[in-house]
């Protein structure tokens, strides 16, 4: 089909139009109409008299197209006109394209044109549809977008300040949603006092973090306390750390949500007046990579740090306090006796190699150094527990570290289906085994096939599949 007007005229479907009427019809049919000479000079401009004004366009007559188009539109028009010239237009509709007009950098407006070749020469009739209404909406969208981005940048700044403030503040602070009773945010100081990791505590029910408190009761007493004037803070016991904590609540509203900010203080803060060494030791205990355990003379655990909890996969301090060390040592009572006998005799024991039993029945190689603190009525056994599995695996250079292995598996799971993982794994194993068989047989394929219990043919198929075959071998 063609929409070529002459075809319609010739077919008698439209009557012949008198030339003096044609101009009016063209002007009325399009919003803007340009007649362009083969040299790209604008011969005439017809503007729809019923349409919103484009401004003074009569100046355009006689000027070149390139003076009234933006840079990129001119480039586009030129390339499309080249297409028009080289390709046959027969069987195709008229060329349609969006162009941006610019009048001496003063103003810009977009027009959707259809291009029609008229007459025998390269003269072109451009019928344009004004796109300004769309452009205006688009401009509003862009402006809204930029405003949004500006807001996000401001928010990013405020967000960073808030995070840094929370991060470094030494005063433990917990923010709780009053409607859900769950922790919305807390700083590391608060997490340490409560005896958990920040990630675990965010989203946890605040009432559960304290001994003997139910949700409704907790929130109610907190909000009562918050509005009461000059009342003393509530003293509670944190469930995970088993520490006595003084809670000072403040209720505030933020964007329609009622929030409870709890400032926490250790109840025994009088004894907390620490010197630098004590503070450093305490930081080492909480942040160090090696597990540290304090136990009594019978091997009952009195305290252990986060690193030890991680080593043993224990959920929290409450889960191991009061339990015997024998629960965690692979050789149980034997290990404990060796440790205790040695430290009682010499005061310390170094590099004792054993394994820890984790809560999930796994085992992990460790090295333990033990110290006996005998300067008090109830002596204390201190263990520093170092994960030795990494060191062990480092001694075997051919294999990846187990920790990496675990991480790698975590990376795979969730990113592929089990079926895909198994299929890909099988391929890798096949390839490794075949490579090994070839290595062992010094590239004797018959022997390698035999070693793998494969027919020679299937070995060749697999060699090809894994690209283990040279072109010259074929």
């Amino acid at each position: 089909m063609t929409t070529d007007g002459r075809h319609l005229l010739n077919g008698g479907k439209l009557p012949l139009i008198a030339p003096d009427l044609l101009g009016d019809i063209l002007a009325a049919a399009a919003d803007i109409c340009l007649l362009v000479s083969p040299t790209r000079r604008i011969i005439s401009v017809l503007v729809n008299p019923h349409h919103r004004s484009f401004g003074q366009l009569t100046d355009w007559e006689g000027s070149n197209l390139k003076d009234v188009l933006t840079e990129e539109s001119l480039r586009k028009l030129n390339s499309r006109l080249d297409d028009l010239r080289t390709s046959s237009t027969r069987g195709k509709g008229p060329l349609s394209l969006e162009l941006n007009h610019a009048d001496q950098q003063r103003w810009e407006f977009p027009v959707r044109y259809t291009l029609h070749r008229i007459g025998g020469d390269e003269s072109i009739l451009m019928l344009g549809r004004d796109l300004r209404p769309i452009a205006e909406v688009q401009q509003q969208l862009v402006a809204a977008q930029l405003a949004l981005e500006r807001d996000y940048e401001t928010q990013r700044e405020m967000d960073t300040r808030y995070r840094v403030l929370m991060e470094v503040s030494r005063d433990p602070v917990v923010i709780v949603s009053m409607s859900s009773g769950r922790i919305s945010d807390l700083n590391p100081a608060a997490a340490q006092l409560l005896g958990g990791q920040r990630v675990d505590l965010v989203g946890a029910a605040i009432a559960q973090e304290f001994e003997g408190r139910r949700r409704g009761e907790f929130l109610e007493s907190m909000s009562n306390l918050a509005v009461a004037e000059s009342s003393a803070p509530i003293e509670l016991t944190a469930r995970r750390s088993q520490k006595r904590v003084l809670v000072t609540p403040t209720v505030f509203r933020a964007a329609g949500e009622r929030l409870l900010m709890c400032q926490l203080d250790a109840a025994d803060s009088a004894a907390n007046s620490t010197d630098e060494l004590a503070e450093n030791l305490s930081r080492l205990y909480h942040e160090g990579v090696d597990g540290i355990v304090f136990a009594d003379a019978e091997g009952m655990i009195r305290a252990a740090n986060e690193a030890f909890l991680n080593l043993t996969d224990s959920a929290n301090m409450a889960a191991i306090r009061g339990r015997s060390l024998t629960d965690f040592l692979a050789r149980g009572a034997v290990d404990l006796r060796v440790l205790l006998d040695n430290v009682k005799r010499t005061g310390q024991l170094r590099m004792y190699a054993t394994r820890l039993t984790t809560d999930f029945m796994g085992q992990i190689a460790v090295e333990i150094s033990a110290t006996w603190l005998n300067d008090r009525p109830n002596p204390i056994l201190v263990l520093v527990v170092r994960d030795a599995s990494r060191a062990e695996s480092l001694r075997r250079p051919t294999f990846g570290q187990p920790d990496d292995g675990v991480r790698n598996v975590m990376e795979l799971v969730g990113s592929s289906t089990l079926k895909d993982i198994v299929a890909e794994t099988t391929d890798v194993i096949e390839k490794m085994c075949i490579e090994t068989a070839l290595e062992l047989t010094r590239n004797n394929r018959v022997a390698a096939a035999e070693m793998l219990s494969l027919s020679r043919q299937s070995l060749y198929v697999k060699l090809r599949k894994y690209g283990l075959i040279n072109k010259s071998d074929d």
């Binding site: 688009q138 862009v142 940048e153 999930f360 790698n408 794994t425 890798v428």
Partner: protein, 263 residues
């Protein structure tokens, strides 16, 4: 290699089973390493899907694409630095070919920007990086509508460990008070159109004046592909779209920035 000879202790496994687990761990490590595509190679089908997702009226279509990107191990970094710019280029190309109207292009780019923002929330060198690390001012001049490139750049710089202050269309007074209040190690200006050259020249002048000539300014953006006299026209210290070159023109080599990158 003798797999059966590895008989030592493995974390959370022991004895003969340990050898097998370790073998499996080794296999998995190879799988993971193999499937991460080298930097800069894009999968055409994913580019097409992303293009279709941002061009469709239904924004949920990106949500359905997400698991697929994850499966193809396209990282957020890869998405931001390579896929999003490529899709934006194709949108522009579609306008050149009149396959898309400018309104569709604008909508598409705005969706790309939303995706970029979503995946880049965590990219802040500010809190995690070294406190003494470099700080940069990145400016999108007034009237410049192409902001995606500046956003992509801000994300990359932040991941390099630079603290970036992005200012969109700041007026002179705002810029002067910003420069009086803060110290930046350099400024970057992004321009895409010829008609922003004059605005850009004024920005450079303002920055130099307000910083007492201390700050260097580098201009980048789409305009560089068409105009090679930008340095002369704007008075900037350099014009480049290459981060390394921009940073060294500002006296901050990428090596230095990378050293500050948090592990």
């Amino acid at each position: 290699m003798h797999f059966d000879m590895q008989n030592g202790t493995v974390r959370r496994a022991s004895g003969a089973a340990g050898g097998v687990s370790q073998f499996a761990a080794e296999v998995v490590a190879r799988l993971v390493a193999r499937d991460v595509s080298p930097d800069g190679t894009l999968r055409d089908d994913l580019v097409d899907r992303l293009l279709a997702a941002v061009s469709s009226g239904d924004f949920a279509s990106f949500e359905t694409l997400k698991p697929e990107l994850k499966r193809a191990r396209v990282s957020a970094t890869m998405l931001a630095d390579h896929y999003i710019p490529e899709v934006a280029r194709r949108l522009g190309e579609a306008w050149m070919q009149d396959c898309a109207s400018f309104a569709q292009v604008t909508m598409g780019v705005s969706r790309l920007q939303a995706i970029l923002r979503e995946i880049g929330v965590q990219w802040a060198a500010d809190a995690s990086g070294t406190a003494v690390g470099p700080t940069l001012l990145l400016i999108l001049p007034h009237g410049e509508q192409h902001s995606l490139g500046a956003m992509v750049l801000a994300g990359r710089l932040r991941r390099l460990g630079l603290s970036v202050c992005l200012r969109i269309a700041p007026d002179v007074a705002e810029l002067v008070s910003l420069l009086a209040a803060r110290q930046f190690d350099g400024a970057l200006i992004s321009i895409a159109c010829e008609d922003k050259l004059e605005t850009c020249r004024k920005l450079v002048e303002t920055i130099r004046h307000a910083s007492g000539g201390r700050m260097s300014v580098v201009v980048g953006g789409a305009l560089l592909e068409r105009c090679d006299t930008i340095v002369d026209l704007t008075g900037a210290d350099a014009a480049t779209n290459d981060i390394d070159r921009a940073l060294s023109a500002l006296g901050l080599s990428e090596r230095q920035a990378a050293m500050l990158e948090p592990a």
